[in-house]
C-alpha cells in the first residue's frame, strides 16, 4: 500500500491547498501589474487631450471676432450664410480663419436634424484630405424659420 500512515495526510493536503491558493493570487497580481501597457494608456490620454483641444478650437472659432466694423462674431456670419445659402462666402471666411490659426481639418454646418440622421452638410470647408479625426460639435439656435438649429462640426 502507498499510503502507509494516514496521520499526516490532512496536513499535507492543506499544505498543498494553501500553496496552490497562494501561488494563484501571486500569479494573478503579478500578471495584472505586468499586463499594464503604459504606451496604450498614454495614447488614450493623448487622444482625449486632442479631443479637448478640438472642442476648445471649435469654441474659439465660433467666438472669433470679425474685423468687419459690425461687431460680429464668426457664429453670427455662419448663421447669416446659412440663411442666405451663401456657401462661397462661408468657405472664404473659413479659409481665412484656418490660415490665420494654422489649422488643418474640416468644418461642416448641418441642419441639426440632418446631422442626427447622418445626412450631407449644408456647407463644408476642408483644407486637408483625411479620414476619421477628432470630432467636436456645437448646436446653434438660429431663430429663423428655415432651420430651427444648425450644428457646426469641426474635425481635425
Amino acid at each position: 500500500m502507498f499510503i502507509k500512515n494516514k496521520k499526516g495526510m490532512m496536513d499535507d493536503f492543506f499544505d498543498l491547498l494553501f500553496t496552490s491558493l497562494a501561488l494563484f493570487f501571486i500569479i494573478f497580481f503579478v500578471q495584472v501589474i505586468l499586463d499594464t501597457d503604459t504606451e496604450t494608456k498614454t495614447e488614450i490620454t493623448l487622444t482625449e487631450l486632442h479631443r479637448f483641444d478640438n472642442d476648445v478650437q471649435l469654441l474659439h472659432l465660433l467666438d472669433y471676432p470679425l474685423s468687419d466694423g459690425k461687431n460680429q462674431k464668426m457664429r453670427d456670419i455662419i448663421l447669416q450664410y446659412v440663411d442666405a445659402h451663401n456657401e462661397a462666402l462661408f468657405k472664404e471666411k473659413m479659409r481665412e480663419y484656418f490660415e490665420k490659426n494654422n489649422l488643418e481639418g474640416r468644418i461642416a454646418v448641418y441642419n441639426s436634424q440632418d446631422y442626427l440622421l447622418d445626412k450631407e452638410p449644408l456647407f463644408s470647408f476642408s483644407n486637408v484630405v483625411f479620414g476619421a479625426g477628432k470630432v467636436s460639435e456645437v448646436e446653434l439656435l438660429t431663430g429663423n424659420a428655415g432651420h430651427d438649429s444648425i450644428t457646426v462640426v469641426l474635425t481635425t
Binding site: T45, F52, L141
Partner: protein
C-alpha cells in the same frame, strides 16, 4: 491534538490568504497597475467645462437674437414693453398726457421686454436682470445651470454680454426733444405750423416713409428715425433701420 505549532502556521497562512482574498474583493472594480493619466480631469474638461462653454455660446446667441428683436419691438411701441401710463390709442403709445410726461425707465422696459420675449421664443424659465451699457446688452441670470454626473458637478451662471450695435440711449435724446417740442407748441393755435417749424429733421409725422401730418384733438403721432442713426443687423444679414413710433399730446387742460 499533539502539536499546536503546525496548526498555528496553518492559521497564519489561512489568515494571509483571507486578507488577500478580501483585498481582491474590495478592489474588484479598481483598475490595478498603471492607470490612464488625467482620465478624471479630461473627462471633467470635456463633459462639464466644454459642455458649459457650449451652453454659454448658445445662450449668447439667443440673447443677441432676442436683444435685437426687442430693440425693434420697443421702438415700435415708443419704448414701452407693455402699456404706456400716458395711454395707448390706436396702437400708438403716448409719451405725455395733458401736462405731464411719462418718462421711460429704459432698463426696466428692456428687462421686461427681454424676459417675455426670451421665455416665449426659447421656452426657458431662466429669469434675467437685463440692462444696457452703451451698445451692449447685459443679462445677469438669477439661476445657475448645474451639469452633474456621478463623479463631478459643474455649476455655471449663464450671464451674457452681447453687442447689439445699437444703444437704447436714443430714448433719452428723443424724450428731451419731445419735451422741448411740447413746451414750444402746446400753446400755439396753429399746431401744425409750429411743429413743422420746430421739429428736428429725423422727426416725421405719422409714418417715417410718408411723413403725413394728422392730428386728432391736438394729439399727433410721430415716427422718428434713430438719432444715433442705428440699424439692427438681423441674423439673416439684412439691416433694419430703427424707427421710433410714439404719440404726443398737445392739450393744455
Amino acid at each position: 491534538m499533539k502539536s499546536k505549532k503546525g496548526a498555528l502556521v496553518h492559521w497564519i497562512v489561512l489568515g494571509l490568504l483571507a486578507a488577500i482574498g478580501l483585498f481582491a474583493w474590495l478592489t474588484f472594480e479598481t483598475e490595478l497597475g498603471v492607470q490612464i493619466k488625467g482620465e478624471w480631469q479630461l473627462d471633467y474638461l470635456r463633459n462639464f467645462y466644454v459642455e458649459g462653454q457650449e451652453e454659454l455660446v448658445q445662450r449668447d446667441q439667443e440673447a443677441l437674437f432676442a436683444g435685437k428683436e426687442i430693440a425693434l419691438l420697443l421702438a415700435n411701441n415708443g419704448g414701452f414693453a407693455e402699456s404706456s401710463p400716458c395711454g395707448v390709442i390706436d396702437e400708438v403709445y403716448y409719451w405725455n398726457k395733458v401736462g405731464s410726461f411719462c418718462f421711460l425707465e429704459v432698463d426696466a422696459e428692456v428687462d421686461k421686454a427681454f424676459n417675455v420675449f426670451f421665455q416665449k421664443k426659447y421656452g426657458k424659465d431662466q429669469k434675467y436682470t437685463v440692462s444696457h451699457q452703451g451698445k451692449e446688452l447685459v443679462g445677469k441670470s438669477e439661476e445657475a445651470i448645474i451639469l452633474a454626473g456621478p463623479k463631478a458637478k459643474h455649476t455655471i451662471f449663464p450671464h451674457f454680454r452681447v453687442n447689439l450695435g445699437y444703444s437704447f440711449d436714443d430714448y433719452f435724446q428723443l424724450q428731451n426733444e419731445a419735451k422741448s417740442i411740447v413746451d414750444l407748441c402746446k400753446w400755439k393755435p396753429d399746431l401744425r405750423l409750429c411743429l413743422e417749424d420746430t421739429k428736428l429733421p429725423h422727426w416725421k409725422f405719422t409714418n417715417c416713409d410718408t411723413d403725413s401730418y394728422t392730428e386728432e384733438n391736438r394729439r399727433v403721432v410721430f415716427c422718428s428715425e434713430s438719432p444715433g442713426k442705428y440699424t439692427i443687423l438681423r441674423l439673416d444679414g439684412s439691416t433694419v433701420p430703427v424707427r421710433y413710433r410714439f404719440g404726443l399730446d398737445f392739450t393744455t387742460s
